[in-house]
Symmetry: C2
Subunit: 260 residues, 2 copies
């Protein structure tokens, strides 16, 4: 079984409360469980009771840091419509809620009006790109699960922040798992924050992910971008394009700056 599927597995229990075990294999640089990983786990718990197969939008609020260990996920169906169903979940550890996630599920198609203003980032082929050496990530075990390749190494990583909080890169699971809708909320939150290029650290407060199409197998081409930093907050936008050149996810988070 692939790491993502094993580590986001949920067991349905009574009264709409599922059980999960968060692992330490998706930790960020601060050694805390990645927020996107917890959001993806919430989404899998919600999927147990949703009458449609595809999450189309999920909003997660990160209430406190999560940690490796058991978690309970309370889920409820808010409304079942004819084409869209809405659900909510709350992931708790040791009696305290850690993530509150709300989502809409439907059936994604690709018919009807289509319009695209944008294109995947222009990147050299993955084989010609640089990967960041794993050992440099210290506590960030997530770097062993998800592979990144970019045209050049990030400025912050080289000790020379560029002052430009924007980047583009390839991404895939290291164990060969192909992308699907359920892993996208993890992937959009899995890179080091763009504000590192401004010399700042960051912790996510809220993350909204739009799931726009089922991704084709292969490398994902991604863009991350922060445009506004002010009063201790910044947003971070993320786009994921699949190997067929289709935008499959768009996300935005509001995050708090933290000292480095």
């Amino acid at each position: 079984m692939f790491a993502f599927d094993a580590d986001t597995a949920v067991t349905a229990g009574p009264d709409g409360v599922s059980a999960a075990v968060l692992t330490d294999r998706w930790n960020g640089t601060a050694g805390a469980v990645n927020g996107g990983y917890m959001l993806a786990t919430c989404l899998r718990a919600l999927a147990l009771s949703m009458p449609f197969p595809d999450p189309v939008v999920v909003s997660g609020f990160f209430l406190k840091p999560g940690s490796a260990g058991p978690a309970s996920i309370r889920t409820s169906v808010i409304r079942r419509g004819r084409t869209t169903a809405f659900g909510e979940s709350g992931l708790a550890q040791e009696g305290q809620e850690v993530v509150r996630a709300t989502a809409a599920f439907a059936r994604l198609g690709d018919d009807g009006l289509a319009f695209t203003d944008g294109a995947p980032p222009e990147l050299p082929p993955p084989a010609s790109c640089a990967g960041v050496p794993l050992e440099s990530f210290g506590l960030a075990t997530i770097a062993s699960r998800i592979e990144f390749r970019a045209a050049s190494l990030p400025g912050w990583f080289l000790g020379r922040p560029t002052g430009q909080p924007a980047s583009s890169f390839w991404m895939r699971f290291t164990d060969g798992r192909e992308p699907d809708l359920f892993c996208l909320p993890l992937l959009v939150d899995s890179i080091a924050p763009s504000v590192l290029e401004l010399g700042a650290g960051s912790t996510t407060l809220q993350l909204t992910v739009h799931l726009r199409a089922r991704p084709a197998p292969g490398w994902l081409a991604c863009r991350a971008l922060t445009r506004f930093v002010r009063g201790g907050y910044h947003e971070e936008d993320f786009e994921v394009w699949d190997s067929a050149g289709v935008l499959v996810a768009q996300s935005r988070q509001l995050a708090l700056l933290v000292p480095r």
Copy 2:
């Protein structure tokens, strides 16, 4: 009292349930109550129990159309942190939930690291701009509450959709109410959808609003943009810049295309 304040007023009741009366003064083109208006009302109900004054992010899911008339708003505090508090509210009419809103409140400042990649839209002064004639909006009573001025009238309005779902314009309340954080979730949802320029209509499924700074008095300069339409869904991004040239709100919604 200004229309916005009167029409989003909430009365605290027992067990965290507030009472509100939605009016028909904020209807969109289809004659339904505007989603942003309901979201702003939820935010006012949440403010009653939040220990911090400023909403910094709110996510609303629109479960079914709202209508003019009484509404009950159930609110709960999800978590009170040291600097951030999280709350949830559900607005219901006739026993059915219409909007589920989750928000984080804090205290917005303007100190610390600042970075801006972007600028307000370049627009002629409001006095040199065109306003859309009110009577052309039919059922859209919201057009009497909020004034829009743009360098030229929208293509869809003139019967010639431009094929470009993007626009910029000035915005303010017609009755002279100055903008604050609480009205921004309404304002970002108050214009006709950008996909009208593609010949399509739209209904909002989910809306996330980041409140980034307390707006200065005066006209707000705004940008609306849809970049991706596919499989019956589109996103719409919205930026609001105040009269001091500060970005005060950034929003994104996921919406369903509807036939026109």
